[in-house]
Each structure stands twice: as structure tokens, then as C-alpha cells.
Symmetry: C2
Subunit: 292 residues, 2 copies
Amino acid sequence: MNMNSHAFAGNPIKSRTPKPREPVSPQSALKTLRTLLSTNSQIISDDDFFKILPFRKGKPLTGSTTIGLKWHLGWLSLSDCKSYLEKSQVVLTDDSLVYLGSQNENGVDFVYWGIDVSDASGLVDELGARQFCFVELRTLMVATDWSDSKAMSQLAIAGHGRALVEWHNTARFCGYCGSKTVPIEAGRRKQCSNDLCNKRIYPRVDPVVIMLVIDKENDRALLGRQSRFVPRMWSCLAGFIEPGESLEEAVRRETWEETGIEVGEVVYHSSQPWPGFYPFLSLSLSSSSFNY
Amino acid sequence: MNMNSHAFAGNPIKSRTPKPREPVSPQSALKTLRTLLSTNSQIISDDDFFKILPFRKGKPLTGSTTIGLKWHLGWLSLSDCKSYLEKSQVVLTDDSLVYLGSQNENGVDFVYWGIDVSDASGLVDELGARQFCFVELRTLMVATDWSDSKAMSQLAIAGHGRALVEWHNTARFCGYCGSKTVPIEAGRRKQCSNDLCNKRIYPRVDPVVIMLVIDKENDRALLGRQSRFVPRMWSCLAGFIEPGESLEEAVRRETWEETGIEVGEVVYHSSQPWPGFYPFLSLSLSSSSFNY
């Protein structure tokens, strides 16, 4: 199966889960990044190794080329990023930095970061003057040529970044004791700051099933429509997996709840990460044999 | 595929996601349950319609028959439950009650509830005298004859109950604003009590991949072992799905992280709910073509 066949899948950046004892760990990269961004130190040698993608309210920074109307992600160098932040008087908090992974290109390790600049309204004008703007992921998805694997990779990186950056907003406090959480592992995990609790908090990924229910004769599909849909718009049934359910059971329950129809065999098709406000994982299934 | 082939799958109780306008909604069942449990009212007519399963620190109440050493879940009637709670001076909070679903048997609707009695140490003796005790789910799993579909159903109900009951402990506070959360929809959802936030909180289901990686010749399997394992114990590789990953990508990343081996084709096998401290959903995949 081609991983690039689904939008938001096929992220080319290797994002190994951080291990504390790695020679160049994400933690040490974070330390370097924060030092260089926050102090008056001159950025010289490290500039080229950092690629920083700003997000504003879940939207990644995006530029476009006039030729062919193609978009590209607005990766900033460390010095450009620093100068933008200083001009718009933005001070990044610990929650705003997220390690996206690293990639070796021609023997050089590039380190990729997402930063959350939602509060930096001054930045919009600043970047707008440079033909950059913050664009909704769905818009980028529609604007992408799905046969262009390079563009699909960019979409996947943006989706991964959005999911991690947005998760920091929904995990500011520990669900168990209510204390503040602090980012650890370069923003890929969080931890409760209360020493008596100290719970580790992992990015939330909510599994969802989306299914095409078809009849035994394989000539009719079961679709649904919501009241908010425009006329003639129909969609596949879908829903969250509940605790205690297999995904095949979730397909059966959701179809039964929404339509009263009992589903027969359930066949897995593929899965796709979906970077909504919560980072969903959606699992496509096709399903045969309803009688109606 | 037979849903009962996996432990903790195949819950026979229909747990339709509560709809507020249903004639007999879980909310109205909750109101009845709370009224009958908390006041001095005599329980007469409704007693038989409620089946209540107590959980203590994630362990369901369990009894066993002397014949064949079979176990069964410790379902209590409303009046029994009330009398136990009164004897051990337990007052249930809103967070302690979870609607597990309803089932129509011979024209009568039975309503199933899970209750969390973790703080009620007095209850252990009380119930012990009646040959009931609280048993870890893994122990029940091992003690179950996997070809006995009725016993497997009981295991699935216990797993579903545990996942929901335990989730209330980890979702006491809103991750977004830090305020207290309150249960809604009969304990199947929670909501932030801060009117300015009001976020809805859904039970957390963490998708996990567990995979049997095999070589191209189909004659060797890739297994791992942790330092805490007993000698000669090996296990399949497994890991959490990260935001922005399809499950096929999670299989590849985890295998690469743990062993440095690149995985070829990934084939989905089946899925299983796993009621750990977090309610996992694990997805089994088999995978071929590593070269080593």
C-alpha cells in the first residue's frame, strides 16, 4: 500500500520517540534552540541546522509560488525566526516549542521544530509583507495535487506539527490532580508539575472509524446526511471508538445507532491520521452484507 | 471474523451512545438510580431492572462456583447494593456511577451500571463473607475458557466497565483550564464546570499497535525482550500511535526504533480493546519482508 495515498499520511521526517541518552537528543537540541532564540547571542554556526515552522491557531505558515500556484511550508531559519519574534515582541513559552524530528540530508542532520505563535498578532503583518500567511490545513489539502508525493509529504509534516502544537493547549493541566503540566522530551510529552502526582501525559490520539457500508449485492452504499449539509451532500458514516470496543464493533454500533441497520462482515481498508482540533486517527473500513 | 476470538471484545450489552431525547434515557435511569440509592425510599418495583457491578481499584467484583471453578461477575440488585453501601457507610459521588448499557431480555429492559467503590475498604469484608472478591482482569482472563462465549462476554463487560470507571479518575480536572469536571450522560462523558470553558471531555482510548514482524521467507519472527522479563520470555513489538501517523506508519516507526529493522508490507489482522489503566485499543498487524 502506498502510504502517500492518504492526505496527512507519509510524513518523511523521522521522529524517533526521544531517548534521553542519545548523543544528539531532542532535549539537547531544545536547549540549543531556546538559548539561541532567547538570548542576545549571535547566531552563526547553528543557523542552517534548524528549520522552524510557525503555527497560528492551528494553521501552519505557508507561502506560494506564482508558477503553477503551488504552496510550500514557511520554514524559517533560526536567525529569521529570531528576528521576526523580536520585531513582533513575542516571547515563546515552554509550551510553544515542539520537536518534529530530524532528517539527515547529505550527511548533515537537520532538526525540525514547530512553534505556536497564536498570540503574536503582530507577526501576521510582518510575515504577510514577505508573502507568507497562515493557512487552514483543509485548504492546503484541497489545494494539493494528490499525485505530487513531495507536496503530500509537506501536508503530512504540517498535520503532524499541528496535532502536537494544538495538543499543548488541551493538556495545560493534569486531569488527575488539576496542577499545571510542563512539557518534557522537547514538547512531545508533558508531565504534571505536582511532585505528589507527577503523571506523564501523552499526546491524545482519538481513534475514529469511518466506513462505507455496502449491501450483499455490492450495488448500494449506505450514506448519511446531517441537517447542516448542503443539498445533495451525503457522507460515509463515522464515529469515535468507545472504551471496551474493537474497531469492528465500533463500526457495527455506529451504523446501528445512526441507521438501525445491522452490519455483517467488516473488512479493514486503511488508516489515516487526521489533524483536527484533536489529533484523530481515522480507520477506514468497508463492510458488506446489510439486508434492507 | 468471530468477535469473541479476542479477550475483552464481544460485549453483549448494547451501550448506545446516550441521546437526550430517548424515551428511557440513561440520564433518567441515572436519576432513578441515584434517588433509590441515596434516600430512605423503599425499593420495590425497580429492583429487578438494575444490575450493578462494583469495581475496586479497577478490579470487578467476582464470585466463583465450586463446580468447575468457573467465575462470574458480582452483579448486585439495587436493594443488595444499597444495603452493602449503607453497612460500610459509603456515599457514592457523581463520579462513581457509570452507565454500562441496557439489554432487553424477554420484553424487560435491564439497565447495567458500574460503580466505583475504591474508597470503601469496609465493603471488602462485607462482600467476602458472601464469597465475593475483587479480582484483577488479567487474572480473570487467564482463568477463562476462551471457547466459552458466555464467559468471554462477561470478560468484555468487565473490561468495558473498568475502562469507563478508571477514566473518571484521570479526567477529574479539565486539561484546558484546570477546573473540576462533572460527569454528564450518565457518566459516559464529562464536562468542564467552568462556564467560560465548558469543554466536553470524552473517554480516552489510546490506539496501540502490536505486530508480528516476519521475514520474507515466512520462517522467522522478530520478537523483543525487556530487562524485566523472566528468562526465555519474549514478546511481540508494540507501541503507541503518535499524532500524525497512520497505524501502518506506527508499525514501521516502532519496529525501526526498537530494532533498527525496516519493515515492508504491513497487513492488518484484527483489533482488541485492552482495559489497562488507560483504555487502550490495540490493533494487531502482521508484517512481512524484513531482510536481516
